[in-house]
C-alpha cells in the first residue's frame, strides 16, 4: 500500500513540477529530467523499490510505474521541443541584418553588342543548315571585285570607297569576297554558306565607320529562285525584328547579283506608320541582295546554266544600332566600359 501511496505522491509532484517548468518556458528542464528520469531519478527509485512488494503485486505496480514513466517522458519531450523551438525563434529574431542591402555581386563581364548580333545570326542560319565560311580581310582585287563582275575602271567601284594595300590588294569592301573564294575553292554543287566579318571603306562620319561588320549568305543549287531569296530573308527579318515584320524589296544594282535589290523592313518601332527611327518612311533599310549573276558563275568556272543561287548581305552594326537603340556608330569602337557594360 505504501508503495502505491508513494506512486500517487510522485505523480502529483511530477505533474506540479512539469506545469511549473512549462509556465517558466522550459527553465530547469534538464534538472527536472534528471530528477525524475535519471538513473538516480525518482521513477527508477520506485522501480528499484518494487522488489520489496509481494510477487503477486509486482506486475500491477510495475505497469503503473511504466505508465507514469511514459507520461513523464512524453511531457518532458514536449517541453524540450518547445524550448528548442523557442531558442531558435530567439536566435532568429536576434538578427540585425538589413535585407534591403544590395546583394554582394561579382562584377560581371559583357560581350560586345556586335558579338551578340553576330553570334545570334550565325546560330539562326546554322540552325537552317548554313555553314560558316570565312575569307581574308585583306584580299586580292580579283576576289573583292573582278570575280564579282566588277572590272577595273567600272563605275560600280564608285560604290566602294576602297582602302588599298597595293595596286592589286585591297581591304575587302564587303563580305562578298567570301562568295568568290568559296566558289573558286570548291567543286560545283549545292552551297549554303554564311560569312560574317569585318569590312572596310574609306569613310568616317556620324553614320559611317571605316571598319564595320557584315554578314553574307549564299545559297546555290540547281533550282534556286528569287522567290527562295525572299522567303529566306523574310524568316531572318522575323527572327531579328519580330513576327509580323514585313519586307520591302526594291530594285538596285550590284554587279554580282541580278536581279539585285535593296531590302527594307517595316519599322520595328512604329510598325510602319512612320516615326523618327524610320525617318517617317515606315521602312528601315537593312541590306542588299539578289540572284547570283551568271557572270560570277562564269568567272569562277561553274556552269551558269545549271546553277542558280541567291546572296544577301546586311550590316551587323546597323542591326545592332537598331536593335539596341545605339545612336552613334562611333560608340561601337570607342570601348568605353560605361558603354560595354550595358550589354
Amino acid at each position: 500500500m505504501d508503495s502505491n501511496n508513494d506512486l500517487e505522491a510522485l505523480k502529483t509532484r511530477l505533474l506540479a513540477d512539469l506545469d511549473a517548468c512549462e509556465a517558466a518556458s522550459g527553465a530547469g528542464l534538464d534538472d527536472l529530467k534528471a530528477k525524475y528520469l535519471g538513473k538516480k531519478g525518482e521513477i527508477y527509485g520506485l522501480m528499484r523499490g518494487m522488489g520489496a512488494l509481494p510477487a503477486d503485486q509486482r506486475p500491477v505496480f510495475g505497469a503503473a510505474v511504466n505508465v507514469l514513466r511514459d507520461l513523464a517522458e512524453e511531457r518532458l519531450a514536449a517541453l524540450e521541443a518547445g524550448a528548442a523551438e523557442a531558442a531558435i525563434l530567439e536566435k532568429l529574431s536576434a538578427s540585425t541584418l538589413d535585407a534591403t542591402l544590395p546583394g554582394t555581386r561579382a562584377e560581371m563581364g559583357h560581350l560586345h553588342p556586335l558579338t551578340l548580333v553576330r553570334d545570334d545570326t550565325i546560330d539562326f542560319f546554322r540552325g537552317m543548315g548554313f555553314e560558316l565560311a570565312e575569307a581574308r580581310e585583306v584580299d586580292h582585287d580579283f576576289y573583292n571585285f573582278e570575280a564579282l563582275n566588277i572590272p577595273p575602271d567600272h563605275p560600280a567601284r564608285d560604290m566602294h570607297d576602297t582602302f588599298y594595300v597595293d595596286e592589286n590588294v585591297v581591304m575587302r569592301t564587303h563580305t562578298s569576297n567570301t562568295q568568290a573564294h568559296y566558289l573558286v575553292e570548291h567543286e560545283p554543287g549545292p552551297v549554303r554558306i554564311l560569312a560574317p566579318g569585318c569590312v572596310y571603306r574609306v569613310d568616317n562620319d556620324a553614320s559611317h565607320a571605316p571598319m564595320f561588320q557584315q554578314v553574307e549568305c549564299l545559297v546555290v543549287d540547281e533550282n534556286i529562285t528569287f522567290a527562295h531569296l525572299k522567303g529566306t530573308m523574310l524568316l531572318w527579318a522575323e527572327h531579328v525584328f519580330g513576327k509580323g515584320t514585313r519586307l520591302r524589296i526594291r530594285p538596285s544594282y550590284f554587279p554580282f547579283t541580278e536581279p539585285s535589290a535593296e531590302v527594307d523592313v517595316s519599322c520595328s518601332l512604329c510598325g510602319g506608320s512612320g516615326c523618327r527611327l524610320c525617318k517617317n518612311s515606315g521602312w528601315i533599310e537593312v541590306g542588299g541582295c539578289g540572284s547570283v549573276d551568271p557572270a560570277v558563275f562564269e568567272k569562277v568556272g561553274w556552269d551558269p546554266e545549271k546553277y542558280t543561287g541567291f546572296a544577301f548581305g546586311f550590316g551587323i552594326d546597323r542591326i545592332a544600332l537598331l536593335k539596341y537603340g545605339i545612336p552613334n556608330i562611333g560608340l561601337l569602337t570607342r570601348n568605353e566600359v560605361r558603354f560595354l557594360r550595358q550589354f
Binding site: T104, L111, T225, T232, D293
Partner: protein, 824 residues
C-alpha cells in the same frame, strides 16, 4: 539626281500625289532620298505689283512702297536693294505664314510699323519662300504676271523635287526623260518624247556646216561617235523664264541662254553637249586627239591643267579646248559676245572618260554621264534637237548638215538579246509566258522582234528576240532582261518561298568554336569585350617600346590611302588599340577597366599565287586590365590589378579550354615588365602568348596612370595544342591528413624553387598548396614567409599517424636540405 515634277510632266501626265510618285520611283529602283514641296502652304503669297517706291525718310537701306495685290493697294516697307516701281513681285499678305528656314521658326506676316512707316505685308526673296537659296534681293517676276495670282498658280515657281539615287547601271535615268519613261510604264501612260515635236522645227539654211568648220577625229577609241553643228547669228542673253525655272528646280543656276540649253538637254536626255564659240576656234578646226606632253588647258572651273599624253581632248588648230567628255576650256566657251556656235554632241568611250576624270580629280555632270554610258544611237538626234532648240530660243540660223564621225566599231542599230520565258520563270520562281513578258518589256521600249529558238549548251529553247533601245546599255544579256521583267512586275509582288534542302549537321569551325569559348570564359571572369578599329600607326607601335626585331613592328602592312596618320597601318597586335581604349576610360575616371578583344594581326608574307593577298592574317587575343579590380559590387573590397590577377585570368581561360601550358617567367616582350611577366608555351614549345605588368615606358607613352597588366595570346597556337579529355577520375572517399609548413626564404627564391626542392615522388603526398605569402613583422628584411599545406592521402584506406608523419618528415627534410630555405 534632282528630279522636278514640273519637268516630268512635260513628258507624262502625272496626277498622283508626290508621295505616290515617290513610292513608285523607289519601287522602280530609283530610291527617293528626299522629297521637297517647293512653294507648298504659301496660301497668302500672291503676285503683287509695286506701284510706287520711294526712299524711307528715316532709314537709308529701306524703301517705302505701295503694292497692289489684285484686291487693294497697301503700304509696304522693303529692305531689298533691287525693289523698284513697276515690278511684279511675290507679295506675302498680312496673315501669310512663311516657312521655317535656316533654323528660324515659321514666320507669320503681321501689320507693322517700321521706323514710323506702316507696312502691311512683305515683298519676298526666293529663299524666304523656300523656293531656292538666293537672297540677292526680292524675286522679280516677268512683266506678264497678273497681280493677285496665287503663288501656286504662277507657272514654274511651285514644284515638287525628288532627290533620287541612280545606280551606275542606269545612266538613262540621269535625265528627266528617262525617269518619265519609267513612270509612264509603271502608270501605264503614254510618253511624250521631246524630239518628236521639235525636230520638225529644225530649219537649216545658208552655208553648209562642213564648209564652216572642219572635223578630224584622230582618237577613234576615245571618241567613236562625234557630231558637230553650226548655228550662226545667235544672240547670247538671259534665258526665258520657263528655262530658268526648270534649271533652278534641278539645282542649276542660269548662266546664259546657250549654256542653259546645253544643260537643259543634259538634264532632259542625260546627254552632255558642248557649245563652242566658233570664232574662237583657231583655223575653224576641230580635232579630237590625244593630248601632247606639255600642253595645258584652263578649264571652265578656272584651273589650269597640265595635260598628259594619255588624255584625249577636243582641240582647234592650235591648242586643246576641251578635256573630252569632262570639261570645256575658258578660251573657247560661249560668252556674251559670241555670235556663232559650234555645237558638239558626241559619244565618248566610258572608260576613257572615267580614266581622265580620275586622272584630273575632276568629276563633272558630263563625265558622270559619259563614264556610265550615254545612248550611242541618239547622238545625231540630240544634235538636231538641240540645234533647233538653240535657234528657237537664241535666234540664229542652223547651218545645213552636221560634221560628223562614226568609228566602224560604233553600233548603228539596236542590240538584240534573246530571252527564254522558261529561264525567266526558273530564275524568278514565278510562271511567266511569252506574251506576258513581251507586254511587260514593251513599256520600257524593249521591243519584241520575233520568237525564235535560242541554242544554249547544244539545246534549242523557245525564246523571244528583243531589240534593246540605245539608252539601255545595261541590257546586254538574258538575265538583264529577266531583271527588267521582275522590276516591271514589282519585286514586292513576287512570291516568298522557302527552299528545301537535305538535312545536314553543321558544326562551327574549330577557330570559331574556340573564339566563342574564349569570349564566354573571359566574360564570366568579369571582363568586357572590346572591338577596335583595325588600324594603327608606326607611332603607336613605337610607343609599345618593342625590342629590335620584334615581329610586331616587322612586315607590317601600310595602307596606300589611309584616312589619317594614326590609321596608316593594319595592326600587328591588338594591344595599341586596347591601351588607347584604357586611356579613353581613364579620361572618364573609370577606376576598374577590364578589356579583352579577339583582334586580328596582319603581316606581309610572300605571295603564294598570283591572286594571293601577300598578307598573313591571324586572330590575336588581347587582354588589358587597369586600376582596382573590385571584388564585389559594393563592399569596397578591391585590389590593384597585378601579375597574379592576370595570370589567374589566363589560367582560368586555359582551364576552360583544357589546355596545359608551360609558364616561362620573364618575357622578352618589350612592352612588359621584365620580371613581372611570363611567356606561355604549349607542349610542343610554340609560343602561345605573353603576359605581364605593362612596362613603365609603355605605360608612360600611352599616358596611363593606374596600374596596367596586359596579355597577348595566340588562338591559332592554342588550337594546335593538345586538349585534356573530359574523363572521370576516381577520387578517394576520405579527406586525408594535412600538415602545415612555414618557410622563410630570400626574395630571390621563387615558389617554383621551393616546390622543386621536393623529391619527385613522396609516398601518399597528393597536394602541396600555397596558402599565403607574408612579408613584415617577424620576417627579416629582404625575405618572405610562405605558408604551405601538404595533404597526405591513400586511395583506399585511412593513413596512420605514423605513416603521415613519416611522409611529412621526408618533405621537411627535403626542404631543409635546400640551404636557401628555413623552416619556421
Amino acid at each position: 539626281m534632282l528630279i522636278s515634277l514640273n519637268w516630268l510632266k512635260r513628258y507624262v501626265d502625272l496626277t498622283e500625289s508626290a508621295e505616290d510618285i515617290s513610292y513608285a520611283l523607289t519601287a522602280l529602283g530609283f530610291e527617293v532620298e528626299s522629297l521637297e514641296n517647293r512653294g507648298a502652304g504659301l496660301d497668302g503669297v500672291v503676285v503683287g505689283e509695286v506701284k510706287t517706291c520711294a526712299k524711307h525718310p528715316e532709314a537709308d537701306k529701306l524703301s517705302v512702297c505701295t503694292v497692289f495685290d489684285g484686291v487693294e493697294t497697301v503700304p509696304v516697307v522693303c529692305g531689298a536693294p533691287n525693289v523698284a516701281a513697276g515690278q511684279k513681285v511675290l507679295f506675302a499678305r498680312v496673315g501669310a505664314v512663311l516657312p521655317a528656314r535656316n533654323g528660324n521658326e515659321e514666320f507669320k506676316i503681321k501689320k507693322a510699323k517700321l521706323r514710323g512707316q506702316d507696312s502691311f505685308g512683305m515683298i519676298c526673296a526666293e529663299d524666304e519662300l523656300g523656293l531656292g537659296e538666293s537672297h540677292d534681293g526680292i524675286l522679280v517676276l516677268g512683266a506678264d504676271a497678273v497681280p493677285g495670282t496665287a503663288l501656286a498658280d504662277v507657272p514654274g515657281l511651285a514644284d515638287t523635287l525628288f532627290e533620287i539615287s541612280v545606280t551606275p547601271n542606269r545612266p538613262d535615268a540621269l535625265g528627266h526623260l528617262g525617269v518619265a519613261r519609267e513612270l509612264a510604264a509603271r502608270f501605264d501612260r503614254p510618253l511624250r518624247a521631246p524630239a518628236s515635236h521639235l525636230q520638225a522645227a529644225l530649219a537649216e539654211s545658208g552655208t553648209k556646216a562642213a564648209d564652216l568648220v572642219s572635223l578630224t577625229v584622230e582618237d577613234a577609241a576615245g571618241c567613236p561617235r562625234y557630231t558637230g553643228r553650226v548655228i550662226t547669228g545667235v544672240r547670247v542673253g538671259p534665258s526665258p523664264d520657263w528655262l530658268v525655272h526648270l534649271l533652278k528646280s534641278a539645282g542649276k543656276k542660269s548662266i546664259n541662254n546657250v549654256v542653259d540649253l546645253t544643260n537643259f538637254a543634259l538634264l532632259e536626255w542625260g546627254q552632255p553637249s558642248h557649245a563652242f564659240d566658233l570664232d574662237a576656234l583657231a583655223g575653224k578646226t576641230v580635232v579630237v586627239r590625244k593630248a601632247r606632253s606639255g600642253e595645258k588647258l584652263k578649264t571652265l572651273d578656272g584651273v589650269e591643267r597640265a595635260l598628259e599624253p594619255a588624255d584625249f581632248v577636243i582641240a582647234d588648230a592650235a591648242a586643246p579646248q576641251v578635256l573630252a567628255g569632262v570639261m570645256g576650256g575658258e578660251a573657247s566657251g560661249v560668252s556674251a559676245a559670241t555670235k556663232n556656235i559650234f555645237l558638239e554632241v558626241a559619244y565618248f568611250d566610258p572608260r576613257a572618260v572615267r580614266a581622265q576624270a580620275r586622272r584630273h580629280g575632276l568629276s563633272s555632270d558630263s563625265s558622270y554621264r559619259f563614264e556610265r554610258g550615254v545612248d550611242p544611237l541618239a547622238t545625231a538626234r540630240v544634235s538636231d534637237y538641240l540645234a533647233a532648240l538653240i535657234a528657237a530660243v537664241c535666234g540664229g540660223t542652223v547651218a545645213p548638215g552636221r560634221v560628223e564621225f562614226t568609228a566602224p566599231s560604233h553600233p548603228a542599230a539596236p542590240r538584240e538579246v534573246s530571252l527564254r520565258p522558261a529561264r525567266a520563270s526558273r530564275v524568278l520562281g514565278v510562271p511567266l509566258d511569252a506574251d506576258r513578258i513581251e507586254g511587260l518589256l514593251a513599256g520600257l521600249e524593249v521591243k519584241a522582234l520575233r520568237r525564235e529558238p535560242v541554242e544554249v549548251g547544244g539545246v534549242d529553247y523557245p525564246a523571244i528576240r528583243f531589240a534593246i533601245p540605245g539608252f539601255r546599255g545595261d541590257l546586254e544579256r538574258e538575265v538583264d532582261l529577266i531583271e527588267e521583267v521582275a522590276r516591271r512586275l514589282d519585286y514586292n509582288t513576287l512570291p516568298a518561298v522557302l527552299p528545301l534542302f537535305p538535312l545536314k549537321p553543321v558544326e562551327l569551325p574549330p577557330g570559331e568554336a574556340q573564339a566563342r569559348a574564349i569570349r564566354a570564359t573571359l566574360r564570366d571572369l568579369g571582363l568586357n569585350e572590346a572591338l577596335s578599329l583595325r588600324f594603327t600607326s608606326r607611332k603607336a607601335l613605337a610607343a609599345l617600346n618593342l625590342a629590335e626585331g620584334d615581329p610586331r613592328h616587322r612586315d607590317f602592312v601600310p595602307l596606300l590611302n589611309p584616312l589619317s596618320e594614326e590609321w596608316e597601318l593594319l595592326p600587328t597586335t591588338p594591344l595599341p588599340a586596347l591601351l588607347q581604349a584604357l586611356e579613353r576610360n581613364q579620361n572618364t575616371q573609370e577606376q576598374d577597366v577590364r578589356l579583352f578583344e579577339i583582334g586580328r594581326a596582319f603581316h606581309k608574307r610572300p605571295r603564294t599565287d598570283a591572286r594571293d593577298s601577300g598578307v598573313r592574317e591571324e586572330p590575336v587575343l588581347g587582354i588589358a586590365l587597369m586600376g582596382e579590380w573590385k571584388e564585389s559590387s559594393w563592399s569596397g573590397q578591391k585590389q590593384s590589378v597585378d601579375f597574379p590577377r592576370l595570370k589567374g585570368v589566363v589560367e582560368n581561360l586555359l582551364e576552360r579550354l583544357r589546355i596545359e601550358v608551360e609558364w616561362a617567367p620573364g618575357s622578352s616582350a618589350g612592352f612588359l615588365h621584365p620580371v613581372e611577366s611570363a611567356d606561355l608555351k604549349t607542349a610542343s614549345g610554340e609560343l602561345a602568348g605573353v603576359l605581364g605588368t605593362l612596362h613603365p615606358k609603355t605605360q608612360a607613352a600611352y599616358g596611363l596612370k593606374l596600374p596596367v597588366v596586359v596579355a597577348e595570346i595566340y588562338p591559332e597556337v592554342l588550337l594546335r595544342a593538345p586538349r585534356r579529355e573530359l574523363k572521370f577520375k576516381p577520387f578517394a572517399s576520405h579527406s586525408g591528413s594535412t600538415r602545415d609548413v612555414n618557410v622563410v626564404v630570400a626574395e630571390s627564391v621563387r615558389h617554383a624553387d621551393i616546390l622543386d626542392s621536393l623529391p619527385a615522388k613522396v609516398e601518399n603526398l597528393v597536394e602541396s598548396r600555397l596558402n599565403s605569402v607574408y612579408r613584415g613583422k617577424g620576417v627579416p628584411e629582404g625575405h618572405k614567409a610562405l605558408h604551405y599545406t601538404f595533404t597526405y592521402r591513400h586511395a583506399e584506406r585511412t593513413l596512420t599517424d605514423d605513416e603521415v608523419n613519416g611522409a611529412h618528415e621526408t618533405v621537411r627534410a627535403a626542404l631543409l636540405k635546400n640551404p636557401d630555405i628555413q623552416i619556421k
